[in-house]
């Protein structure tokens, strides 16, 4: 499942569905809204392009690390402190591939998927600066 959506997901159900034949490890990454003295977070995406980028990242990770299953769900809209922002589920035959594949996916998302976060505070809001100045899309 690759999706950009406002709704939350059932992580337990995703883990259950990820356990394909041959799975020896499932790694879950759950990025959540941190309490940085904010009231909530607003997320925005260039949805068509972002979805295509997520699909490409999932394909690349699957090929590069021999993954058996990948889910990437990135939420948008207004999210409160403690809510899930990004869920990545990776299944592989062994832990090494699962951990490495999961790390590859999150770093690729941060590097190039057109999604933005605004931290809402009592004084207004502030856009979160990107970690990668040029936001260069992940290449195949």
């Amino acid at each position: 499942m690759i999706a950009i959506q406002t709704d939350d997901v059932d992580i337990g159900a995703l883990i259950a569905a990820a356990k394909k034949h041959g799975t020896g490890a499932v790694v879950v990454f759950d990025g959540i809204v941190r309490d940085d003295d904010i009231s909530e977070m607003e997320l925005e995406a260039y949805e068509d392009v972002a979805t295509q980028e997520l699909e490409k990242i999932a394909r690349n990770a699957t090929e590069q690390f021999g993954l058996l299953h990948v889910d990437i769900i990135h939420r948008i809209g207004r999210l409160g402190v403690g809510e899930n922002i990004l869920i990545i589920i990776v299944a592989a035959g062994h832990r090494k591939e699962a951990y490495t594949g999961s790390r590859f996916i999150i770093e690729a998302i941060k590097a190039g998927v057109p999604i933005w976060k605004k931290e809402m505070t009592k004084d207004g809001g502030r856009w979160v600066p990107g970690e990668h100045g040029h936001g260069k899309p992940e290449t195949s």
């Binding site: 260039y46 990004l86 998302i109 999604i115 600066p129 100045g133």
Partner: protein, 106 residues
């Protein structure tokens, strides 16, 4: 170029494009802007014209010399356009142009 009969006048052909700004740029300039431009218009002057509608929006995207800030990301129909190529990239009818700051998802 369209020519009109006996008056022997002409009208420059126009094309329709959509401009999408995101994040801070969207707050300053709006988004999903449908606009008619003269056929043959290049990417940079198109964005310049739109951005000039709000001085703060213009300053967010362009420097004092009228060049794109190096961090600005440009796309045409979902494909990246390098800033160095923007001045010589022509927009055509139906194009979707996107302009946005560095990404910060995850």
């Amino acid at each position: 170029m369209r020519w009109y009969g006996k008056e022997n006048t002409c009208e420059e052909e126009e094309v329709m494009v959509k401009i999408r700004f995101f994040a801070r740029f969207r707050e300053l300039l709006g988004t999903d802007i449908m606009t008619d431009v003269v056929a043959g218009t290049m990417f940079t002057p198109l964005i310049t014209t739109i951005a000039k509608k709000n001085p703060e929006g213009y300053a967010a995207i362009f420097d004092e010399n009228g060049a794109f800030h190096e961090f600005v990301i440009l796309m045409k129909n979902g494909k990246r356009i390098e800033i160095a190529d923007a001045a010589k990239t022509m927009v055509v009818d139906g194009d979707e142009i996107a302009v946005f700051p560095p990404v910060a998802g995850g």
